[in-house]
Every structure is written in structure tokens, then in C-alpha cells.
Symmetry: C2
Subunit: 160 residues, 2 copies
């Protein structure tokens, strides 16, 4: 009932606010829903993101730095996330035989299994959001977001 008073004005005047604010707020809301679901699997949203990148990108064998840049994560943040995932046995950092500086993160079988389950659970959550729109609308939205997400310069401040 407190929610009613607080949230209602958002709907009321959302139209006249920043495109930027709308984007952030939507990301905040959707992110909260995803986070609620993903924590049931014992990993964070970021952890799932990293795992997902590792399964869908295994041929590339990326370095840690490039992985962070690709995902939009700060290098120190990615480092601590990889530490957690490694400690949980979901990934391994394998030394590159050709370049002894790099230790490529590789997903383990357990990680792959967990990622698959988590992905399905998140897809279910995503379906909930999808249901609010028609297929044509979703196509537009997805294309627009992909387009906006694909800039060129590096980005300040992430919060992913």
C-alpha cells in the first residue's frame, strides 16, 4: 500500500522523462527480476553472464581482459567474479601454452550444467516480460536495444 503511493507517480509522468532514465529504470526493474531468479542457483547475475559468455564463445578462447571489455565489466570486478566462480568449481583458469602471460578462463562441466539450468530459468522470467508485448514489438525492441548497445567507445560506469 505504500508501494501504491510511491510507484504510481512513475507511471503518471514517465512520458515526459529522459529516454536515458527510462532505459536505466527498465534495466533496474528487469535486472531485479532476473537477480531474484538467479540467486536460487547460488550464483550472481554477473556470474551467469560470465558463464554464458564462456559457453557461447568457447572457440574464441578469450583473455580475461578482452572478456571484461566485451561484457562491459570492470577488470577488478571481473577478477573477483572469476575468483568466486573458480572457487565454486564452475570455471578453471588454464594457462595458455603459447603465451605464458595469459590464463584463459574455461567453463567446467559443472559450470556448463549449472549454466544450462540457470539459462532455462531466466528464459522463463524473460518469457514473462515478453508476454507484455506482441512479437512484432519484441522484434523492434530487441533490434533497438542491440543497436543501442553496440557503440564504439569505452564506457564509464557499468553496474552490470
Amino acid at each position: 500500500m505504500n508501494d501504491m503511493e510511491v510507484q504510481q507517480p512513475i507511471a503518471a509522468c514517465a512520458e515526459k522523462w529522459d529516454f536515458n532514465w527510462l532505459l536505466h529504470r527498465a534495466a533496474q526493474r528487469v535486472g531485479a527480476a532476473f537477480a531474484d531468479e538467479i540467486t536460487k542457483f547460488g550464483i550472481s547475475l554477473r556470474g551467469q553472464l560470465v558463464l554464458q559468455a564462456l559457453v557461447s564463445d568457447e572457440e574464441a578462447a578469450r583473455t580475461q581482459l578482452k572478456l571484461g571489455a566485451m561484457l562491459g565489466l570492470d577488470k577488478t570486478t571481473l577478477m573477483s567474479e572469476l575468483d568466486k566462480l573458480e572457487r565454486a568449481g564452475l570455471i578453471m583458469r588454464v594457462p595458455d601454452p603459447n603465451d605464458r602471460r595469459v590464463r584463459t578462463p574455461v567453463i567446467t562441466d559443472e559450470g556448463r550444467e549449472l549454466q544450462k539450468q540457470a539459462r532455462d530459468a531466466l528464459a522463463e522470467v524473460e518469457r514473462g516480460f515478453r508476454a507484455r508485448f506482441t512479437d512484432q514489438e519484441m522484434a523492434v525492441i530487441r533490434r533497438a536495444l542491440s543497436d543501442l548497445a553496440t557503440g564504439e567507445g569505452p564506457v564509464h560506469g557499468s553496474c552490470l
Copy 2:
């Protein structure tokens, strides 16, 4: 040229990634563009957001707590932002005659002037993004974002 190597994979496999990640990444990109512009006016993106809320909402005379909840800002973060804006002479905290607990944030004339200029500059940036889409697409996107941004429960983790 480093950007090419790093950013290109994003476009390549953006289609198969999280709706959630897409949203956050898009918000990150657009936010960066807005932030670049707004810092020329000596205020932060959050500062502009607060000022905007104060001009478009002056009849409501909100308390600081409700303002924070409406904008999705943490109360301590909003406090420090109000401190900055007050120090810059852009807002004032005026005591409420009816309730001596509350000190309502009110925008000053200088604040109103600055906000107007900043708003126009940001509208220009927004126009740049709009140009990538048709009017119909923008309508869909705006409606969708408004819809997503309008949830009911409180939200964890903001980064606005």
C-alpha cells in the same frame, strides 16, 4: 582500432544474449552519451534528474524520502546529491510550515535556468539516438520501456 576488435563481437552475438544484459548495456551506452553532455553544465546526470523532477513536479512538494523512492535513488545518495545541488545554489531546502520535520527541496531560479539549458542539450543528444529509428519504432520502444520501468515492488541496486 582496438575498439573494433573489442566491440565487434558484441554486435555479432548480441542476439543470443540476455534481454537483461541488452537492457543494461544499452542503458550503459546511452548513459555515457548523456553524461558526456551533461558534465559540460557542471552537474551530474543524477543532478539533472533531480532538477528535472523538481521542475516538473513542483505542485507536489515532495519530501526527500518520497523523491528518492520516485526516482529510484538510495536515500543516502539522494542526500549527498541534494547537498551538492544546494552548495551550487541550484536548489534550496525550505522548511515546511505545516510539518517541521520536512525540509522540501525546491529548485531556485538559477537551477531552473540551468535545468532548461541542460534539458535542451540532452534533447539534442536524444535526437541523435532517435534518428536511428522510425517514429513508429520509437513509439514502440518508449511504450515498452515505460511499461517495463513501471513495476510494483521496490528495487535492489540502482546505479542511476
